[in-house]
Structure formats: structure tokens, C-alpha cells
């Protein structure tokens, strides 16, 4: 199912909220595919958040709170990106951390940040997902 079909299904003239986000339909489909492949290949739960980080608390605390909202935080990996604050956080759960050590998460973060610095949000996210999933291996 594509984003366009979802709009037709709801029967309203208002486009789905996800289209107000930072990505075009084509980029959304690519991210969707990358997430699906990462989930299937590793057995972990990958998740991507793109938005503003609350400045009331530290960025790490905020992203860890987002991570806890997932159904299985222990085996989840959250990639949180704030384009305006130019900040990237990768949060791995207790079990996911054994599959993806912090050093490899940092490596993925480095390559993602290189893409983000060039203005390519979707490309960086897809690259990071691929790197993290490749390192986590088969679950």
C-alpha cells in the first residue's frame, strides 16, 4: 500500500499527516523498505524519529523516553534526528546493545551525520539503518 492509496481509502481531501513531514513520497517509500528489511533481517525493532527534541530535559533523556514508548524497548533501536538542532541520537535497548555495540552505533552515526551535513536526510537514515542492520546480523 502506498501513501497515495491511504489517502484514497480515508476518503478525505486532506492529505495524510505524514506528507507534512520532512520527506517526499518517494523517500518515505524508501525509508519504509529500509525499515522492513532491517527488521526482517535482524529480528530487532528499528524505529526512526525525525522531529524536534524537547529542550526541557537533556537530549539523551528525551530520546531514551521516546525509546521506552516502543513495545519492546529492550530489543529496539531508535534513530532520532533533529534537523533544526543538527543532532542525531541512536538509542539501543538492553538486548539490542549486545548485537550493536556502542562503537558500531557511533560508526553508523558518523556516516549518517556526513549525509545530514550535505542536506540528505533520507539518504543518511537509510544508510544508517543499513549499517546498523548489517552489523547486527541475523537474529
Amino acid at each position: 500500500m502506498t501513501v497515495g492509496e491511504k489517502q484514497a481509502e480515508t476518503g478525505t481531501a486532506v492529505p495524510p499527516q505524514v506528507l507534512d513531514g520532512p520527506f517526499s513520497t518517494r523517500q518515505l517509500l524508501r525509508i519504509d523498505e529500509a525499515l522492513r528489511l532491517a527488521d526482517q533481517g535482524t529480528g530487532l525493532v528499528f524505529s526512526v524519529y525525525v522531529g524536534h527534541f524537547d529542550e526541557d530535559e537533556s537530549i539523551r533523556t528525551y530520546t531514551e523516553r521516546l525509546h521506552r514508548q516502543l513495545a519492546e524497548p529492550d530489543k529496539s533501536v531508535l534513530i532520532a534526528v533533529s534537523p533544526n538542532q543538527r543532532q542525531l541520537e541512536i538509542v539501543t535497548g538492553k538486548y539490542a546493545r549486545k548485537r550493536i555495540p556502542d562503537t558500531y552505533a557511533k560508526l553508523a552515526a558518523l556516516s549518517m551525520v556526513a549525509s545530514f551535513g550535505g542536506g540528505d536526510l533520507a539518504g543518511g537514515i537509510i544508510q544508517g539503518l543499513d549499517q546498523l542492520a548489517t552489523h547486527a546480523g541475523k537474529g
Binding site: T2, G21, P22, E64, Q69, A71, E72, P83, E89, A109
Partner: protein, 120 residues
């Protein structure tokens, strides 16, 4: 019909060149027509650009970038809060509003998380 010689001279003065165009005709063909073409193309480009040709959506580091926060999951049923159940109805990767995010996940922190952070 007899034409006065002075008038013939005046007419020939206004029809110079191989094409024999008057000054008005020259202006019309060589200024008016190109200007009309430029306006039509500029108009079409403006309409195309406004329809979301990607101009506003492009992220440039350091410039303010307005968008609705999004949150994607490979499997939408993996989200713990109520928003997740609503989103699970569609197979599309879900997006949450920041309001929905504030509603959930305020319990005690779980230890043992790892990861990395970076800036650009």
C-alpha cells in the same frame, strides 16, 4: 490614385530594412513576442513550483526547516501507547504528532540502554 511624393518619402522612411517593417511592427515582433514567451514560461514555472516541486521540503543545514515530526516503525503494532493501536490499522509506516508523543512514556527510566550521539 496619385500619391504625393512627400508622403511616399515619409512612408519609405518608416519601412526600413529587408523586411519592410514599420517601427511599431518591429517592436511588436522583436520585443512583444519574446516578452510574452518569457511571461508564459515564468508563469508555468511559478505554478509548478508552488505545487510542491520539493522546493520547500528541501533541508539545508543551518536554515530553519518546518515540518511535522514523524516517527516510523517497520511494524506499527510495536508502539506501546494508544496511538500505536490506531496506527496499526494502516500498513503504512506511522507518523505521530508531537502531542501524541507527550501523552505516553513518562514512566521510570529503563537502565542499560546504549547507542551513540553526534552532531553535524
Amino acid at each position: 490614385m496619385i500619391v504625393h511624393p512627400t508622403r511616399t518619402f515619409l512612408v519609405s522612411l518608416f519601412r526600413l530594412g529587408a523586411l519592410g517593417l514599420s517601427v511599431t511592427d518591429t517592436l511588436l515582433y522583436f520585443v512583444g513576442v519574446p516578452a510574452a514567451a518569457v511571461l508564459v514560461i515564468a508563469g508555468l514555472a511559478a505554478i509548478g513550483g508552488r505545487k510542491g516541486g520539493g522546493g520547500d521540503k528541501r533541508y539545508r543545514p543551518g536554515r530553519p526547516f518546518n515540518f511535522t515530526p514523524v516517527w516510523f516503525l517497520g511494524r506499527p503494532e510495536q508502539l506501546a501507547d494508544s496511538a500505536g493501536t490506531a496506527l496499526a490499522a494502516g500498513a503504512q509506516a506511522p507518523a505521530l504528532t508531537s502531542r501524541k508523543q507527550q501523552q505516553a512514556g513518562r514512566e521510570a527510566p529503563a537502565g542499560g540502554t546504549g547507542g551513540a550521539s553526534d552532531r553535524w
